[in-house]
C-alpha cells in the first residue's frame, strides 16, 4: 500500500472541512446563527453579488494603494537603514520596538486625521505593512556577504554597479520574504480598519451584517476575504518562483522545503535585528 502524497491529503482535508461546513448546521449540531451552511452562504453571496463586488472593489483599491506605500517606502527606508551604518545604529532599535506595538490602537487617530473614508484605511494599512518590509530589506542588505562586495570591487565595479548588480540581487530573497509578510499585513490592516470604522468595503459588510445577526452574509464576506488573501499568496509565490529561479534550478522537489524554511526564518531574523 502506498502512502498518499501530502497534496492529496491536503485536498482531502479541505474537502472534509467544506463538507463539515455544510453538514454540521444541517444536522443541528450547531445553530445556524453560529455557522450557516455553506450552500446558504454561497447562495446569499450570489444573491448580493453586486454589493459584494462593489465592496471588494473598494477594499482592493485600498489594499493596492496601501501596498504600494508599504512596499515603496519600506524598501526605500530599509535600504537606507540597512546600508548606512550611522542611520542604522540610530534608527533600527526604534523601528524594531515600534514593530512590536499593536498599531491598531493608533487607528482612532488615523480616522481623526483622515476621516472614515478610504484615506484612513490606506494610511493605517500602509503603516502596518511598512514595518516587515522595511525590517526585511534592512536585514537583507546588512547581511550581504562581504566577499560579494570585495569581489565586485576587485573586478572594477563602480558604486552604482555595485548596487544594481550585487546588492540588489543579493538582497532580493530577503526583501521578497518581507513583501510577502508586509502584503499580508496590508490586507489585514485594510479589512480590520474597515471593520472598526467605515461605511464601505468587505470589512464593513462583516461588521454591519454581524450587527443585524445575518450570519450567512457575515460568512459570505469572510469567504471573499479568504479568496483575496489566498490570491495574494499565490501571486507572491509566482513572483518568487520567477525571480528566484536560480535557487531552485537543478534541485526541484528538494527546493520547496528549503525555500519555505528560509522564508520562515527571515521574519524572525528581521525582527531580531
Amino acid at each position: 500500500m502506498t502512502r498518499p502524497s501530502p497534496q492529496t491529503v491536503r485536498r482531502l482535508i479541505g474537502l472534509a472541512l467544506l463538507i463539515a461546513w455544510e453538514a454540521v448546521p444541517r444536522l443541528g449540531l450547531l445553530p445556524e446563527l453560529f455557522l450557516p451552511p455553506l450552500s446558504k452562504t454561497l447562495a446569499v453571496l450570489w444573491l448580493d453579488r453586486f454589493i459584494y463586488a462593489s465592496a471588494l472593489l473598494v477594499t482592493l483599491y485600498e489594499v493596492a494603494i496601501a501596498m504600494l506605500i508599504a512596499c515603496g517606502v519600506g524598501i526605500l527606508v530599509g535600504a537606507i537603514v540597512g546600508g548606512v551604518a550611522s542611520i542604522r545604529n540610530l534608527m533600527l532599535p526604534v523601528f524594531s520596538s515600534l514593530y512590536a506595538v499593536p498599531i491598531v490602537i493608533l487607528y482612532p487617530i488615523f480616522t481623526a486625521w483622515f476621516g472614515i473614508g478610504s484615506e484612513s484605511k490606506i494610511a493605517f494599512a500602509g503603516v502596518y505593512g511598512f514595518f516587515p518590509v522595511m525590517l526585511s530589506t534592512a536585514a537583507g542588505i546588512r547581511t550581504i556577504d562581504e566577499q560579494y562586495l570585495l569581489a565586485a570591487r576587485s573586478m572594477g565595479a563602480t558604486l552604482p554597479q555595485l548596487i544594481a548588480r550585487v546588492i540588489i540581487p543579493a538582497a532580493i530573497p530577503t526583501v521578497l520574504a518581507g513583501l510577502r509578510l508586509g502584503g499580508a499585513l496590508t490586507i489585514i490592516g485594510v479589512v480590520v480598519s474597515e471593520m472598526l470604522t467605515s461605511a464601505s468595503g468587505i470589512g464593513y459588510l462583516v461588521t454591519m451584517n454581524r450587527t443585524i445577526l445575518d450570519s450567512p452574509r457575515v460568512f459570505a464576506a469572510i469567504i471573499v476575504v479568504l479568496v483575496l488573501s489566498i490570491a495574494f499568496d499565490i501571486a507572491v509565490r509566482a513572483i518568487e518562483r520567477y525571480t528566484l529561479v536560480w535557487q531552485s534550478a537543478g534541485r526541484r522537489g528538494a527546493s520547496s522545503s528549503t525555500a519555505a524554511s528560509a522564508r520562515m526564518a527571515t521574519p524572525a531574523a528581521a525582527s531580531a535585528v
Binding site: R165, P169, W246
Partner: protein, 268 residues
C-alpha cells in the same frame, strides 16, 4: 588554438618585474590605537613567475594581497603592478581569486565569468564567447549554464579562476583559493592551476597555509612572520617543471618544506 596564442603573453614584452613592492608598511587603527600590520616588505615577482606567500594566521598576507589588488591602501612604501602604481582595482592588470567561492549564486557559471566584462560594458556576444573560452581553459566545457550551487567546490574555484583570467590580466592574485576544498580535490586543483598557468604565462601571487601546496606550486616561496608581518625568508624552489605528484615523495621536496616550516615555527 587561437585563444592560446592570444593568452600567451610572452614575458619579454612585459616589464622585468610584474609585481614590485618597495619598503611597504601598513598600520591600521585598532581599538587600542595604531597596530603595525606589515613592516619593511620588499618583494619582486618577475613576470611569469609563480610566487607563493606563506605565514602564520594574522601575519598580514591577505592585507598585502589586497594592496597588490588595489583594494586597500598601504600606509607607506610603493607598489608597482605591471610597472605602474595601483591606487584602485584594475581588472585588466590584476585578476583576483578569493578563498571562499565568491561567485554570485544568482548568476550561472558563464554569467559569473563574464561579470567583469559586463561591468566594463562589453557587447554581449563578445563577452559570452570570451567567457566560454575561459571555461574551456579551466576544464569546465559544457558547465556554463549551471548555477554555483549545482557545482562542486573544486568546480566553483575553477569558475573563480576563469573569472580572474577573463580580462587577460598579466597578474593573477590568489588568496587561499583551495583552502575550503578537501585534500584530494585540493591536490587536483593545484595541478590544474599549474596547467592553466603554463598555458597562459601569468604572473601568480598565491597565498596558502599549506606548505606542501606552497612547495608544489611555487618558483619561490616567501615566508612571512607573525604580526607585524615582515619577510623572513625567500625559498627558491628549483624542482623541475612540469611538477608531478611523485616529487612530493623526494628528499628535495621534504628539505624545502622543512626549511619553510623551521622559519614559521621559530617565530613567536
Amino acid at each position: 588554438m587561437e585563444h592560446m596564442a592570444k593568452l600567451n603573453r610572452r614575458p619579454e614584452h612585459a616589464p622585468q618585474a610584474a609585481v614590485e613592492v618597495r619598503g611597504l608598511g601598513h598600520i591600521y587603527e585598532g581599538r587600542d590605537g595604531a597596530v603595525p600590520a606589515l613592516t619593511d616588505i620588499d618583494l619582486t615577482v618577475p613576470a611569469g613567475h609563480f610566487t607563493v606567500i606563506v605565514g602564520p594566521s594574522g601575519c598580514g598576507k591577505t592585507s598585502l594581497l589586497m594592496m597588490l589588488a588595489g583594494l586597500r591602501t598601504q600606509t607607506s612604501g610603493t607598489i608597482l603592478c605591471d610597472g605602474r602604481p595601483i591606487p584602485k582595482p584594475d581588472p585588466e592588470r590584476v585578476g583576483v581569486v578569493f578563498q571562499e567561492a565568491s561567485l554570485y549564486p544568482w548568476l550561472t557559471a558563464v554569467e559569473n565569468v563574464e561579470f567583469p566584462l559586463v561591468l566594463k560594458g562589453a557587447p554581449r556576444s563578445e563577452r559570452r564567447a570570451r567567457a566560454e573560452e575561459m571555461l574551456n581553459l579551466v576544464g569546465l566545457e559544457g558547465f556554463g549554464g549551471r548555477y554555483p550551487h549545482e557545482l562542486s567546490g573544486g568546480m566553483k574555484q575553477r569558475v573563480s579562476i576563469a573569472r580572474g583570467l577573463v580580462q587577460d590580466p598579466p597578474v593573477l592574485l590568489m588568496d587561499e583559493p583551495f583552502a575550503a576544498l578537501d585534500e584530494q580535490t585540493r591536490m587536483t586543483m593545484g595541478h590544474e592551476l599549474l596547467r592553466i598557468w603554463s598555458q597562459t604565462s601569468k604572473t601568480v601571487v598565491f597565498i596558502t597555509h599549506s606548505l606542501t601546496e606552497a612547495v608544489y606550486l611555487a618558483d619561490e616561496v616567501v615566508v612571512m612572520s607573525a604580526r607585524p608581518g615582515r619577510i623572513l625568508d625567500r625559498v627558491p624552489v628549483d624542482l623541475p617543471r612540469p611538477r608531478t605528484y611523485q616529487m612530493m615523495a623526494t628528499d628535495k621536496f621534504g628539505q624545502l618544506r622543512e626549511r619553510i616550516w623551521h622559519q614559521i615555527r621559530d617565530t613567536p
